[in-house]
């Protein structure tokens, strides 16, 4: 649900509203950041930066341009990709750019100390490989529809309907 009142209060600079927004979106945004960076410490730093930006830039959000979740999502993906290209990241990380969100649970390190990854495993098992690729590109990596269609070598229409089927499956499992 889009909390119009909450967003409004956030835009006015209400700290309570910010707290509530954080509670609503931080975990999913953290998941997106972590999927891109695959580094807990860095992901947490970026998460902080992202929500500081949310606090500062909230007045610039316009409902006509899309969902508030999508707005934060864009900030998070951009900040993560910036981090990915930074020297700090390159110095401490192996090359992970080609991996998908599936790799989050496949990494042995993550499996041992992340109980949450079990939840993700549930969804991954549920989704066929093509769905994983589509969702990875469009949702986690923030590719545009054209870019994704090109990478996956399928017509735009097919991409859209296939993606819808994937999300439907996901929704069914959540219910």
């Amino acid at each position: 649900m889009q909390q119009d009142f909450l967003i409004n209060q956030l835009q006015e600079g209400n700290e309570k509203a910010f707290e509530k927004i954080y509670q609503l979106y931080s975990k999913s945004i953290f998941g997106v950041i972590f999927t891109i960076l695959k580094d807990e410490e860095l992901a947490e730093e970026v998460l902080q930066d992202v929500f500081l930006k949310v606090w500062e830039k909230a007045p610039t959000y316009e409902a006509s341009k899309g969902r508030f979740f999508t707005w934060i999502l864009n900030i998070a993906r951009n900040a993560s990709i910036d981090q990915l290209r930074s020297k700090t990241y390159k110095d401490r990380q192996k090359n992970v750019e080609d991996e998908t969100f599936v790799d989050v649970i496949e990494s042995p390190h993550q499996l041992t100390d992340s109980t949450e990854a079990i939840g993700l495993q549930k969804y991954i098992k549920l989704l066929e490989p093509l769905c994983r690729s589509i969702i990875d590109l469009l949702f986690f990596k923030g590719y545009t529809q054209q870019e994704s269609a090109k990478v996956l070598e399928m017509p735009l229409g097919t991409l859209k309907t296939r993606n819808r089927m994937c999300i439907k499956k996901l929704r069914a499992s959540i219910r």
């Binding site: 649900m1 006015e12 600079g13 700290e15 707290e19 509670q23 931080s26 975990k27 999913s28 945004i29 953290f30 998941g31 997106v32 972590f34 999927t35 807990e40 992901a43 947490e44 998460l47 902080q48 929500f51 500081l52 606090w55 500062e56 007045p59 006509s64 341009k65 899309g66 969902r67 979740f69 999508t70 999502l73 864009n74 969100f101 100390d113 992340s114 949450e116 990854a117 939840g119 993700l120 549930k122 969804y123 969702i135 469009l138 986690f140 923030g142 590719y143 545009t144 529809q145 994704s148 991409l159 859209k160 309907t161 296939r162 993606n163 819808r164 999300i167 996901l170 929704r171 959540i174």
Partner: protein
């Protein structure tokens, strides 16, 4: 919307939540969503599912981060006033720029008006100069004609001496008998009083018979004071009298200015 179901199944709403649509399409979806609550509900469910999925990808629930985040927010200068301050500065800058622009425009307008006035003045000056050139040209043509006439072999010069009425006066008649033209050089005649005009007479002496051969009209306007009169008479003398405007039938002898006799050859 003709077919909501079709719109749903097209998969555009999922892409909308991803943020994967081009701007125009995104705005279109926003517009459609405002109209159809059932589509809005769908979008919320898609969003929920995606939040669930990415939330599952988070290594842990980062609620503790909020504490340090709130500290950072408080350390920062107040956001809202900062925003309005920025607005004020830009508004002031905007006003300042407008005023400067306005002043600039006025100055340019002023300068432009001045230039236009100068231009008009100069155009007037040029027109005046052109008139003067034309006049000078005409003048020089007239002078040349006159010079040619006076140099003519057939011309006879008759000095006209001042008489009792005006002893200081003097004039010359140049008579071209062949062309029946007489030129009167009236340089040393005073300007006639208002309402009066000089009249030129051809005279036969025995008996004294005066015949009017013309008026020196527009005496003041003729800067060279050279007048051309027709003279078909067999003149023996020339006289100039002062007469009421329009001239007289017979000369007023009391007002005889100058008189001269033709040399008998």
């Amino acid at each position: 919307m003709e077919n909501i179901q079709e719109y749903l199944e097209s998969g555009i709403l999922e892409l909308y939540v991803y943020g994967a649509l081009p701007e125009a399409e995104r705005e279109e979806v926003t517009r459609v969503l405002r109209e159809y609550p059932e589509l809005r509900q769908e979008v919320e469910q898609i969003e929920e599912a995606l939040q669930e999925l990415s939330g599952a990808a988070a290594p842990y629930d980062p609620q503790d981060v909020l504490i340090s985040l709130k500290k950072k927010i408080r350390q920062r200068p107040e956001r809202t006033p900062e925003f309005s301050k920025k607005k004020n500065i830009s508004a002031i800058l905007g006003w300042a720029a407008s005023i400067i622009l306005l002043i600039g425009l006025f100055m340019m307008y002023d300068a432009n008006t001045e230039l236009n006035e100068r231009l008009t003045e100069m155009e007037q000056e040029q027109a005046d100069l052109e008139t003067q050139i034309v006049e000078a040209r005409e003048d020089s043509e007239k002078t040349e004609q006159l010079l040619r006439a006076l140099r003519s072999r057939n011309i006879e010069k008759i000095p006209l001496q001042g008489q009792d009425f005006a002893p200081e006066a003097y004039a010359t008649a140049y008579w071209n008998k062949a062309q029946n033209i007489t030129y009167i050089d009236a340089q040393d005649l005073p300007a006639p009083p208002p309402g009066m005009v000089y009249q030129v007479w051809s005279l036969k002496l025995d008996p004294l018979t005066p015949s009017s051969i013309g008026l020196l009209e527009d005496f003041e306007g003729n800067s060279k004071r050279i007048f051309i009169v027709d003279n078909s008479y067999d003149s023996e003398a020339f006289g100039i009298t002062l007469e009421p405007a329009g001239g007289s039938e017979t000369p007023t002898l009391e007002k005889l200015m100058v008189l001269g006799t033709v040399t008998i050859t």
